[in-house]
């Protein structure tokens, strides 16, 4: 493969939407996608602030700034809820909104109005959730187990329930929209198996949401009735059953962890293939494993309840929990196979993808450990569990979110982010992440329980290491935020296809025009067919089609040499 040495002519910025368009009702999926993602980032900062307070509290074994354990309870409850329901899930909805219609060559989502409606439900839900903190905060953790959530939590718990209800409606509407879009809005030449893997991941995610959220909604309604209407669904003293809530909750919430990580796996398939300049290894296996995870994900919920389950019921759930590692393992090997022998570009997006791979494997293996009944009974409700799910949710989902930001930012804004800052961000995040969460395995194995503000003094050394690393991790977030803001104004102009990627979102200007594509949409026969002569011809032709008109007239001037991006090596 010869390297391209001519300056790429496409380095001209397409007009960006006005800032005010992001602040009002819009049915354009690109605006809505950005609205989702920016809202989610704001909540990420709030949730991160809460995490800093938690780690501050845990610097010493005694109570520090929390006056009672209740203050601490409300902190970790809000931290978890905000991070799960207001940051990761809405961010993926936003990224899917932006990228999926473009990848399918569609003008918009199938139901633009519904799409906007689903986003605008997020805002009141978030406000309600945060208001709850000030009217008597919820204290029962994000799992909201009764009787804690019924008898001991403040009025904020009621608002918490209503907020989750609204978010649930939003997610179901979004999921219906995604599935219809993916099934019906593809160009005729794009069959199911020519579809980008990110779209497959969104499809699996949406299926989980449609089938899982009604369970949560039903359970939340019962919990609400118990709190405000005096029913006793979860009150054993009056004939109710607390385990009903645990079953309902985990039947939704275990699949929900796949809602949080499947789109990230879709991102990885895109990023790794594009930046390794190689076809995805095992396309169909990755697509099917997404669907497999979605289905098997519904059969494992009771592994969260090993300590409260009758012994004969534990074994089947241990088996299903081990089975679900198989499709995940298939993906991991496929990604490694994709990179194998590729011309890898270690830019920020790729670094975070490889970071995901390494951290997620650790999180996956501790997940298997916790799926084994004897280990789980020993580790249950210790910091080992906390460490496990932070490895999959931060080392997995959030790393994938970072990778997606570095990968698609040029498409969304038309500008390149600073690579040097990106690499600094990666290394600071990667190391501080590891030293924040890896020692938690150790304190967990030594027996430090989760959800406590005061702990035995012998755990202090490790906790100080954890807290100090977590402060660095918190600060590292501002590197990417600064990078994004800087790039919007000062970043190099990206041109339509800075990564020379084959999927359709790159075959239009950056940012794409209204209705996404000018003229007919021509997908390449294989979305990941890198390294072939045909793909090089296709990319060159698309490049010309997109840049020629702007060079020829309508007041457009050829770009000055300084804005020319670095030539990209290889195809």
């Amino acid at each position: 493969m010869a390297s391209i040495s001519v300056p790429m002519p496409g380095a001209q910025s397409a007009p960006r939407p006005q800032l005010s368009e992001y602040l009002r009702w819009s049915v354009d999926h690109k605006i809505i996608g950005v609205q989702y993602m920016v809202t989610a980032l704001i909540f990420f900062i709030i949730g991160g602030g809460l995490a800093m307070l938690i780690r501050w509290e845990l610097l010493t074994p005694a109570l520090d700034f929390s006056t009672t354990g209740s203050t601490y309870n409300s902190l970790f409850t809000m931290h978890a809820t905000v991070m799960i329901f207001m940051w990761i899930i809405p961010f993926w909805a936003g990224l899917g909104n932006y990228v999926v219609p473009l990848q399918l060559g569609a003008k918009d989502m199938a139901f633009p109005w519904l799409n906007a409606f689903a986003f605008w439900l997020i805002v009141p839900a978030g406000v309600l959730m945060l208001m709850g903190y000030f009217v008597g905060p919820p204290e029962a953790g994000w799992t909201a187990y009764p009787p804690l959530s019924v008898l001991f939590s403040g009025d904020g718990q009621t608002l918490w329930i209503i907020s989750l209800h609204i978010l649930g409606v939003s997610s179901i509407l979004g999921a219906i929209n995604f599935i219809v879009t993916i099934k019906n809005m593809r160009p005729e030449s794009m069959g199911w198996f020519q579809m980008p893997l990110f779209a497959w991941a969104q499809l699996a995610t949406s299926l989980i949401q449609i089938l899982g959220i009604p369970f949560l909604a039903g359970g939340l309604t019962l919990l609400l009735l118990d709190r405000v209407a005096g029913t006793a669904f979860f009150d054993p003293a009056r004939g109710g059953d607390v385990l009903v809530w645990q079953n309902i909750f985990w039947f939704y919430s275990h699949p929900a962890v796949y809602v949080m990580v499947l789109p990230g796996m879709g991102v990885l398939s895109e990023v790794i293939s594009v930046h390794s300049r190689k076809p995805v290894f095992g396309y169909k296996m990755i697509a099917f494993s997404s669907m497999g995870i979605a289905l098997v994900g519904f059969t494992v919920w009771a592994h969260h309840m090993f300590t409260s389950l009758s012994p004969e019921l534990r074994i089947p759930f241990m088996i299903t929990s081990f089975i679900i590692a198989i499709p995940t393992g298939i993906k991991i090997f496929s990604w490694i196979g994709t990179m194998w022998g590729g011309k890898i570009r270690f830019n920020s997006a790729m670094l975070f993808s490889v970071g995901f791979l390494s951290q997620f494997v650790i999180g996956g293996i501790t997940g298997m450990m916790l799926g084994a009944i004897p280990v789980d009974i020993h580790m249950h409700d210790t910091y080992f569990v906390v460490s496990h799910f932070h490895f999959v949710l931060y080392g997995g989902s959030v790393f994938a979110i970072y990778a997606s930001i570095y990968h698609w930012f040029p498409k969304v804004t038309g500008r390149m982010m600073d690579e040097r800052l990106g690499k600094i961000h990666f290394w600071v995040t990667y190391l501080s992440f590891f030293f924040t969460f890896f020692p938690q395995h150790l304190v967990g194995m030594q027996g430090m329980p989760r959800r406590v503000a005061e702990y035995a003094p012998e755990f202090q050394t490790l906790n100080v290491i954890i807290s100090l690393s977590s402060f660095v991790l918190g600060i590292s977030t501002f590197i990417i935020l600064y990078n994004m803001v800087w790039a919007v104004y000062k970043g190099k102009v990206a041109g339509p296809n800075p990564w020379r990627a084959l999927t359709l979102e790159w075959q239009t200007s950056s940012p794409p025009p209204a209705y996404n594509f000018k003229g007919e949409v021509i997908p390449f026969e294989d979305p990941y067919g890198y390294g072939t002569e045909a793909s090089r011809v296709y990319l060159d032709e698309m490049e010309q089609r997109l840049t020629l008109p702007s060079l020829l007239g309508k007041g457009g001037t050829p770009p000055p040499a300084s804005t020319t991006p670095e030539p990209v090596v290889g195809d």
Partner: protein, 211 residues
Amino acid sequence: MSEITLHESKQPALLPPKEEAIRNDNYKFAMWLYLASEVVLFAILIGGFVIWRVQNPEMVARMHDSLGVGLVSVNTFLLLTSSWSMVMGMREIMRDNVAGMQKWFAATAVLGVIFMVLQYVEYSELAHLGITLDFAGSSTEFAGLGVRFYSATFFHGIHVFVGVIWCLLVMRRAQQGAFSSKRYTGVEVFGLYWHFVDVVWIIIFTIFYLV
């Protein structure tokens, strides 16, 4: 969407045939997906009742004895009839007969309202038997039955209520000329919903009242 101009009249312009077909397909598929999530919701409520009644068979038998199946059979018949009148209404719109469609749909809405009224009558009878939502206040004879029974049947009742409102909205849009033999997806989507409510009722009728 190329050159669609919105006319002042309420009659929306038809899209080009291909886009019109995609649009119709989108609406119907979305409705099926929505119904899939409804199936899950009803499955929990009905499943919860089934598990509970396996453990307490004599309590349900006592309720059946005191209540009888007369009233609820009438109700079931009414709901099935409403589905039939809705299908008849749909046949009329396929023949471009808006007035005919509205007549049949009015019948559907009226039958739906009667269904809710009779359900209210039945609820008050059950309340007299001592089957209530409140555990503490209910007679020990029926302890725990109320919440399981009412949550499923009332949730279905809400669906009938929403269906009646939707039916009236469809009639109003028909009045404005939104539907014709070329464009009646809006009617069809409502039809899917109403049939679903009907099917759920047949399952509830069988499991809660008959067996």
